[in-house]
Amino acid sequence: MSIGSASLSNIGRSDGVLNADALRADARRQALGLLALLSPGLFLVFAVIIVPIGWLFWLSLFDETGQLSLANYARFFEQASYIKTFATTFKVAFVVTGTCVLFGYPLAYMLAQLPRRAASVCLIFVILPFWTSVLVRTYAWLVILQRKGLINNWLIDLGLIGQPLPLANNFAGVVIGMTHIMLPFLVLPLYASMKTIDVDCLRAGMNLGASPAATFRQIFFPLSLPGLASGVVIVFVLCLGFFVTPALMGGGKVIMWAMRMEQATSLYSNWGAGAALGVVLLAVTLALLGLFQWLLGARATGVWSQR
């Protein structure tokens, strides 16, 4: 609008330089105006995100006597259990993300193929678990998976196994429980991106003689990748900070980073011990997001800012 009016006022003049200057000044004014409009949001982000994170970082630099020191970070190398916890956290995140892709991709594909009405009914079943507390769902899995739980009882009654399978209170239990909770975070962005794929592209491929498998492999799959990438990023990052399910399903043998944070805040008399754990997780997560962005392009990590 304002650019238009500026150029209108300059119509009839042959002086192009003057015109360009006016345009540039106008553009600058507009940018400043937009910044002013954005400033409440920017201020909010600064006050509720930047300041607390800065404070967290600051706290992590003090030891129990209140002296500036790197003791909170040195601990990660002195005590073997922290490295172990760190490795476990990433192992769980990788495996859960993998199983989510394994189950989530076919599910999203099926949803995308269904007629709209059937798809929306099925989507409700995907979203439904969101409305139940994580705690309740985790306990439900415990009832199903434990030694005298539903699955083991059935399998033993059917005579398929003699000894109960170790499904709960170990790594397998954590992966099963977390996959269930994380699945919607993968399916929803993936479904959305699959719905935007132009069916005409697929038809064109078939018209030109491609088999259905080749059409899927060469056209549909590459076009669904941005959605898959954003789903993978969301699931992976959420897994890194997960607490409830590993705490209840891991039988104390799968210790994740968030559980150490909880322990550190009560074990140490300074906030720094827990704060340092938070800073490390944040830094590693940001580094990973950077890596994803570099590998998969801005569309993967830009899911939050897109449109």
Binding site: R75, Q79, A80, S81, K84, T85, L142, Q146, R147, K148, G149, A168, N169, A247, L248, G251, G252, K253, I255, Q263, T265, S266, L267, Y268, S269
Partner: protein, 346 residues
């Protein structure tokens, strides 16, 4: 700490609502405890009778432990006048200067174990760590001592120990290698860790909350476990096939403190004096399995004779158990916990 994860939010909300009788700020104090059935029992045993006697209102809240107190005191936002903690938390908080000094002219300390009477904290009740086993697996010939628990050949089966309370697991580990009850403290930490190392490969779950320990035993996920006596008692009442005794139990005390900066310090002192008095202490075992900290409670005649043998802090049961030393853990908790974590996470 982690045992406080089992707070029953609803129960706490109910308690808060019932305490919402209006009263002027001057004669109102706020007391925080662990919530759940334990705090309900405390309400009937301590809080309600005290409020009535002193003509004050006692509001209630729930706590997660020492970090809550630390947050309030260091943040200059003390909202509690009295709060309960584990005894080792009291010893640590005392070292950090988080509590007001107690006035033993107001509070009568006689009858309370001197190890639980300090300048700024005082014992309030006891929990025991006991060995529980399933009678549908072992009959009545189950593991009776921690040495039995450690003996995986004589007592094959699935096992659980506390992974979150390193202090308790190290205490039973010391007992398991044959340390006599009166020689467990001061704990030989490296020796106890070696003892844990021996059984580590046979532990199927390291529990992190009282509710989890109970669920593991109840659902038959494990055949034997270390567990808090209150939880064990609940299992027995619910009819689960379990057996436990106070032999070689580990007595851990809870304590109460007045957080530094409490606005109703004097009134809180009077209320605390009532909480630890023998006649109110004798009420506690009528409602819950946590024994009174004041042994004079057993002389009041309020507790029925047949109930006394089931109370962990009854004199004849105390003799069978190790009293966990809060001051030892004040000085060794961090180092021992880190070493313990390194070991069980290998």
């Amino acid at each position: 700490m982690t045992k406080r994860l089992c707070i029953h939010g609803l129960a706490a909300a109910g308690l808060l609502a019932s305490a919402a009788v209006p009263a002027s700020a001057a004669d109102t104090i706020t007391v925080a405890s662990w919530g759940g059935t334990y705090q309900e029992a405390q309400t009937k045993a301590f809080f309600d009778p005290t409020a009535k006697e002193l003509g004050i209102t006692i509001k209630q809240d729930t706590t997660n432990g020492l970090d809550d107190v630390r947050l309030q005191v260091t943040g200059n936002a003390v909202k509690w006048d009295i709060t309960e903690l584990g005894a080792d938390e009291c010893a640590r908080g005392s070292k950090e200067g988080l509590f007001e000094k107690l006035d033993y002219n107001v509070i009568d300390k006689s009858g309370i174990n001197p190890k639980l009477v300090h300048d700024d904290w005082v014992g309030i009740s006891y929990t025991s760590v006991v060995l529980i086993y399933r009678t549908d697996v072992f009959g009545d010939k189950g593991p009776k001592t921690w040495a039995d628990f450690w003996d995986v050949e004589k007592f094959p089966g699935r096992r659980a120990l506390s992974g979150s309370q390193a202090t308790e697991t190290l205490s039973v580990a010391a007992l398991a290698k044959g340390t006599p009850i009166d020689k467990v403290y001061p704990v030989d930490i490296d020796g106890a860790l070696q003892s844990v190392d021996k059984v580590k490969g046979h532990i199927d779950a390291w529990w992190t909350s009282g509710a989890q320990a109970m669920q593991l035993v109840k659902d038959g996920e494990v055949d034997m476990a270390s567990i808090w006596n209150g939880r064990a008692g609940t299992l027995r009442k619910e009819g689960a096939p379990v057996s436990f005794s106070f032999d070689q139990g580990v007595l851990t005390a809870d304590c109460m403190v007045i957080p530094k900066g409490s606005k109703n310090k004097d009134l809180a002192m009077k209320a605390l004096a009532r909480f630890v008095s023998p006649d109110l202490q004798a009420n506690l075992p009528l409602y819950v399995d946590n024994g009174p900290a004041n042994e004079k409670a057993f002389e009041t005649g309020k507790i029925p004779q047949e109930r006394i043998k089931d109370i962990n802090s009854a004199p004849e049961n105390v003799k069978k158990q190790v009293l966990q030393d809060p001051e030892f853990w004040r000085d060794n908790l961090v180092e021992a916990t880190e070493k313990f974590n390194n070991l069980i996470q290998q």
